[in-house]
């Protein structure tokens, strides 16, 4: 249990630092690479929470595919790759009180709702078979809807990005 808590603390620290760098760095490519750190940390937390399949999907889809999309998007919309000065809004400081107030509200809600409730000690990893039985059983209709969403997104992205 102690080892799990130490692992959680280390990964959480890395994730928070990475997330702060994503929203504060002045280089778009660096922001994408810090986002890789945050997403990999999230995958590690999923392993800690006995969700191996979601962790693997996270690495495949986010760290693999979405990040390549972001780097291509940066490359295609930027005349130069490097430090830039106008990445923030003129009134970016308004974001700080909004985020802090939101966090205060969520912290109060979380502390009053869960207090020091513990995770179950003997949680076994959820097998892929259970997850697939869920997807192709009770949640089949959302899966179909999701298939149409992905199809529409593929066609939409091609239509949007096509030169004509």
């Amino acid at each position: 249990m102690v080892a799990q808590n130490i692992g959680f603390a280390l990964i959480a620290l890395v994730m928070i630092v990475g997330a702060l760098r994503v929203v504060t760095t002045s280089n778009v490519v660096h922001a994408a690479l810090w986002l890789v750190v945050v997403l990999s940390g999230a995958a590690a937390q999923y392993v800690l929470l006995a969700a191996e399949f979601v962790a693997i999907t996270q690495v495949l889809v986010y760290v693999g595919a979405v990040m390549v999309l972001f780097l291509f998007g940066t490359m295609l919309t930027r005349s130069r790759i490097g430090r830039e000065t106008d990445l923030n809004n003129p009134r970016w400081k308004w974001g700080i009180p909004v985020a802090l107030l939101l966090f205060a509200a969520m912290a109060i809600a979380l502390v009053s709702a869960f207090g020091d409730e513990k995770m179950p000690e003997d949680a076994a990893p959820v097998p892929v078979q259970v997850v697939s039985d869920q997807i192709f059983g009770p949640y089949l209709l959302p899966f179909w809807a999701l298939s149409f969403v992905l199809l529409a997104a593929v066609i939409g992205a091609i239509v949007l990005a096509r030169k004509d």
């Binding site: 997330a19 986002l35 999923y46 969700a51 970016w92 409730e117 995770m119 899966f143």
Partner: protein
């Protein structure tokens, strides 16, 4: 492990993402902040799946990952289109829709 440690991590990531959406001017960076928010939600789903001992949270986390991938694809397609027509992706320059 407490339940709250995961929920607090997700809350912190969510708030950092909200700050990024408000503060950033570059459309690609705003999309990255939205990814932070979606990841915070996923972390919550997985944490509650473990707390309740039910695999429903895993299913929904997978759905969220798929929707996020579609969202990034369409979002970056729109950003590319705006960049091609306007030569800028600064969000406060795009004010034609303002009343």
């Amino acid at each position: 492990m407490l339940v709250n440690q995961f929920l607090f991590l997700a809350a912190i990531l969510f708030c950092i993402g909200v700050y990024g959406v408000i503060a950033r001017r570059n459309a690609v960076l705003v999309l990255m902040s939205i990814e932070l928010i979606l990841n915070a939600v996923n972390l919550n789903l997985i944490a509650f799946a473990m707390r309740n001992g039910s695999p429903d949270g895993h299913t929904f986390a997978l759905y969220v990952i798929a929707v996020a991938a579609a969202e990034v694809g369409v979002g970056l397609g729109m950003v590319l289109l705006i960049y091609r027509n306007r030569k800028t992706i600064a969000l406060d320059d795009l004010s034609e829709m303002k009343g």
